[in-house]
Symmetry: C2
C-alpha cells in the first residue's frame, strides 16, 4: 500500500470545492472525495487520511466523515483495506482514458455528439420541417377566441375541489369508461360508426392509434398501402414501426384500389385511408370506390385504417357516412379500424384521440394501450366525457363549423380577388377537393417547384406548406393553406401578400 | 334504364326505418335511402321515384327530399341520369359479396376478427399478463394517503380561474421550459447529472423516452444490450422499434460489461442499464463496473441508456451519483442518456417522464418528441414545475422515502416472522439487492418453478410477480414484491398468507 495522502493537501483541496445550492455538508464532502479519486488527487490504491485527522483539519464532526467514507466504500470509490485504512479504488479514469483505442476506434466526431441513425436522419431531413412554422396558414392552427374557456375550465376544476385518488391512478385500460361511452354514442350518431363503447380505445393522438395498430396487427416488413400525398404523422409512425410503405398516388376520388396481388405475392396488411377528406388533397371518396376497397379488403385480408380526422367540418349537406359503418352494413365481419381525434375540435394540446376496433380485438387493444403508453390524463378524460355527454361538444362543433365554413369562403374569395387570372385558369391554379375540413389545397402545374414557391411565400412573411412535402417522389405539386387558426379579417391581407410570389411563379 | 321503383313500396320501406336519437328528418331519409341502395331494395341502376311523388307519399317537404337526393348523389349512392331522373348506383354489396373468392382466399376465421401479428401475439402471450393484478404487491402500486392532494389540486386549479390560450396550445418542443429547468436543477443537485435545461426532454414515460431514443438513434436490426432480467416496458419498446435485443444475465453487481466485439462484428448501438437499482433484482452497480461500461462505450461507440427509475428511494446513506454524471466527469463527450420518471414519486397517472440527452442532440430530440407524440399536458407540466421549484417535491420525496423505508423494513421483518427457516437459508430464499426502491426481490433455487409458485400465491389471494417473467429464458427464479401501494399494517397479514405456498414449494 502507498503512503497515506497528506492530510493537509487533501483537506485544502476539499475546502476549495464549490458548494451546490441546498447541498448538505456530507453530500459536499462525498462529492469532493469522489472527484478527488476520479481526478487522481488521491492516486489509485493510495491510502486516504484517517477520518479523525481529516475531520480535524476540515473542522467537521468525525462522524460526518465516517459516514462519507462508508458511502464511498458502498459506491466503490474507495475500498476498506485489511485491518484499518481506506484506499482509493484501483480503477480510475486515468486507466480508462489511457486504454488504447482499438484499430476500429470510432471517429473523433463520435466523441462529441452521438450520430443520428438513418431513421433519425430521415426524420430530421423531412422537407416539412423547412416549411412548418407557428403561423396562421400552417396546420395545427387554433383560434382560442372560439373556445368555451369558462365552461371547459369549470369541468376541469370541479373534481379538484376534493381529494380523489381515482384521478391520480393509472386509468382503466382503453380509457375512462364514461369517455368511451360518450365517444361511441357520438360516432354512432354523427358518423354511422357501428360500435359498442368497449370497441373505443382512447389514445393520445392519431399517431399513437397507428402505433398501436402497427404493434399489434403488423410485423416488421409487412407491406402497407399509404396515400400519396399522405399525412406525415401516419407515414412516419408506420415506417418507424418497421412496415414497408407502398405509396399510391391519389386522384380526385382519393386512393385508387390497387390491382389484386399476383398469386403468391405478399398481400398488404393495411391500407391507410382518409376517405372523408383526403389529407391533404381534400378528395372525397365516392361510394363505388369505398365498396371496392371493402371488397378488396375482404378478398385479400387487408385491414382498412380509416382516419376520419376532420369529418366534423363539412360546409354543404350532411357528413358522409364512414367507411367503417359501410363495412358493418355488409356481410363478412369488420375489416375497418376507425380513427378520430379531438385536437381539431377541442384544442391542439388536448392529446385525446381514439380508435374503434373490431369487437374481437377490443380487449387486447385496451390492455396494450395501457401497457405501452400508460393511460391518458384522467382529469381531461372525465371532463371531455361530460363535455360530450352534456351536449356541449355538439354545440361547439356546430359553432366551429359555421365559423370555419366562413373562413374557407373568405379564403377562396381572397384568392379570387388577389390572383383572379390564376384562379380562372385551372391549368395554373386549381382548387382541389370538397368544401370540408380546415385546410384548402391548390394544385399547381407539374413543372412548378412548389417548395421554392413556399420558400418565396415564407420570405414574404406567410408560411404555407408545399403539397410535395407530403409526397413520396414529389408526385403532386401545390400549396396547402390551413385556416383554422386564422381570424377572418386577417385572411385577405395574408393572401394579398402571397400574390406577388404566385404571379412570379405562375404568371 | 329500368323502370322507377314503385313510389308506394319505397315510401313504406322508408317509413319503417328506425329513427336514431337526435337525428333530423333529412338525415333519417338519407340513411334510409342509403340502406335501400345497399340492401337492394332499390336494384342497381334502377330509377328512383321523382322527389315530388315520394315527398307526397312520405308527407315531407319536397325540398327536404331534393337535398337528400343531392347528398346521396354527392356520396355516389345514386347518380343523376341524362336529363331528369336519379338512379341507384351500379356497384352494390350484392356484386361485392358475390365476387368469387380467389383460391388463396382468407380462412373463414379471418372474417370475424383480424388476427394479431407475431409481434402482437408476443405481447399478448407475455407471462407478466398472467401475474399482474391491481394488488398491493404488484408494481405500479400507489398509496393515495401519502399524496398532498390539497396542495397539488390547488396548483392544478389555479390557472383554470381564467382563460389561458397557452394551456390549450401544443406546448414547446421538449416540454414546458419551466418544467425542464426545474428537472435540470433537481437532477443536477440530487443525482449529479451534468446538464442544462435544454438537454432535458419531457416525455410521457420511460417507455416513450426509449421509443424516442430508438427512433432517432437506432435503425431496425441494430443490436442493443439489455439486462436479463429486464424491465418489461424497456424490452418491449426496444423490440417493437425493430432492434435486436441481446439479453445479458445480471449478477449481484448488475449487468456485466460484455467482451469487446470481434473485429468486424456488429457493435451494439445501445446498452440499457439500471445501475442505481437493477430492475428487478435490485443490484447496485459499483464504481469499477460503471467505469468499465463508460470505457466500453467510448471505445466501441455504444450509447448507454441509464434508467434511474427509482433512485429517490435509498434507505441508507446518500444516493449514488448517476452514471451520466460520471461520464461527464471524464474526458471524451457524453455517451449516456439519462432517464427519469415521476410516476413513482408523484402518482401513477401523471404521465411525465424525461430524458437528458447530450447537448448536441437536444434540439432534434425536442422537435421529434413534439412531432411524434404531441407535447404533454400543459396544465400538469406547469403545476409540476411549480411543485418542484417551490420545494414541495423535495419534501414529498423525503416523506415518501421515510415511509417506504419503513414498509421495506416491515416486509423484511414479516418474511422473517412468517418463514424464518427459509429466510435463514440463502440456498432456499435469498434477499437480493440493496435497501432501495419500492420493491424487494427474493431469489429462489434454480429448480423451483417460480411461475407455479406465483400462481399458488395468487390462489391464496396475494399477487406477486415471478422473477422469471422478466427474463429471457427464465434465467433467474424468484419473487418480486412491490410495497409502494401497501399500507404497513397490511404487510404482515399478506406475507402470512404467502407462507404456506412458500413452505410447500421450498420446505
Amino acid at each position: 500500500m502507498n503512503d497515506a495522502e497528506p492530510t493537509d493537501s487533501l483537506a485544502e483541496w476539499l475546502a476549495g470545492r464549490p458548494t451546490a445550492a441546498g447541498q448538505t455538508l456530507g453530500a459536499r464532502l462525498a462529492q469532493g472525495l469522489r472527484e478527488a479519486v476520479l481526478q487522481g488527487v488521491v492516486a489509485p490504491g493510495q491510502r486516504l487520511p484517517a477520518t479523525r485527522a481529516l475531520a480535524e483539519r476540515l473542522g467537521v464532526a468525525r462522524n460526518t466523515l465516517v459516514a462519507v467514507y462508508a458511502q464511498l466504500a458502498a459506491e466503490g470509490f474507495v475500498v476498506a483495506g485489511q485491518g484499518s485504512g481506506t484506499y482509493a479504488c484501483r480503477v480510475t479514469p486515468e486507466q480508462v482514458s489511457a486504454r488504447p483505442a482499438s484499430k476500429a476506434a470510432p471517429a473523433p466526431g463520435r466523441l462529441t455528439a452521438p450520430a443520428l441513425s438513418a431513421r433519425g436522419r430521415r426524420y430530421q431531413g423531412h422537407p416539412l420541417h423547412r416549411f412548418w412554422a407557428r403561423q396562421p396558414f400552417c396546420p395545427g392552427g387554433f383560434d382560442a377566441e372560439l373556445f368555451p374557456h369558462a365552461l371547459w375550465n369549470r369541468l376541469l376544476a370541479q373534481p379538484l375541489r376534493q381529494a380523489d385518488a381515482a384521478l391520480l391512478a393509472a386509468g382503466e385500460p382503453g380509457g375512462a369508461p364514461a369517455l368511451r361511452e360518450a365517444i361511441a354514442q357520438h360516432v354512432r350518431t354523427t358518423r354511422g360508426v357501428r360500435c359498442e363503447s368497449r370497441q373505443v380505445i382512447v389514445t393520445d393522438s392519431t399517431a399513437q392509434s397507428l402505433d398501436l395498430i402497427a404493434r399489434l396487427l403488423c410485423d416488421p416488413g409487412d407491406a402497407v398501402w399509404i396515400e400519396n400525398p399522405c399525412y406525415w404523422g401516419a407515414s412516419q409512425a408506420l415506417a418507424d414501426l418497421g412496415l414497408s410503405l407502398q405509396a399510391m398516388d391519389v386522384d380526385d376520388d382519393g386512393m385508387p384500389v390497387p390491382p389484386a396481388p399476383a398469386r403468391g405475392a405478399p398481400r398488404p396488411r393495411l391500407a391507410y385511408l382518409t376517405p372523408s377528406h383526403q389529407f391533404p388533397t381534400g378528395a372525397v371518396m365516392p361510394l363505388a370506390r369505398r365498396l371496392d376497397w371493402l371488397a378488396h379488403a375482404r378478398e385479400h385480408g387487408t385491414l382498412l385504417v380509416e382516419d376520419d380526422y376532420d369529418s366534423e367540418y363539412r360546409y354543404t349537406g350532411m357528413p358522409f357516412p364512414s367507411l367503417q359503418g359501410l363495412d358493418s352494413d355488409t356481410a363478412g365481419g369488420q375489416r375497418v379500424l376507425y380513427l378520430g381525434s379531438f385536437s381539431k375540435t377541442m384544442y391542439p394540446g388536448i392529446r385525446v384521440g381514439f380508435l374503434v376496433v373490431p369487437a374481437g380485438l377490443a380487449s387486447v387493444f385496451g390492455d396494450a394501450s395501457a401497457d405501452f403508453y400508460r393511460d391518458g390524463d384522467q382529469l381531461v378524460q372525465q371532463a371531455l366525457a361530460r363535455f360530450i355527454a352534456e351536449g356541449h361538444y355538439g354545440s361547439h362543433v356546430r359553432a366551429l363549423r359555421r365559423e370555419y365554413g366562413a373562413r374557407r369562403e373568405a379564403l377562396v374569395q381572397a384568392l379570387w380577388r388577389a390572383v383572379p387570372e390564376l384562379m380562372a385558369d385551372p391549368s395554373r391554379l386549381r382548387l382541389l377537393g370538397g368544401a370540408r375540413g380546415v385546410h384548402l389545397a391548390l394544385a399547381l402545374p407539374a413543372r412548378v417547384d412548389d417548395q421554392m414557391l413556399a420558400t418565396r411565400c415564407a420570405a414574404l412573411g406567410v408560411s404555407v406548406i408545399p403539397l410535395s412535402a407530403y409526397c413520396v417522389g414529389r408526385s403532386h405539386r401545390g400549396l396547402v393553406l390551413s385556416y383554422a387558426g386564422c381570424a377572418p379579417e386577417r385572411i385577405a391581407p395574408l393572401v394579398g401578400r402571397l400574390a406577388p410570389a404566385l404571379r412570379a411563379t405562375l404568371g
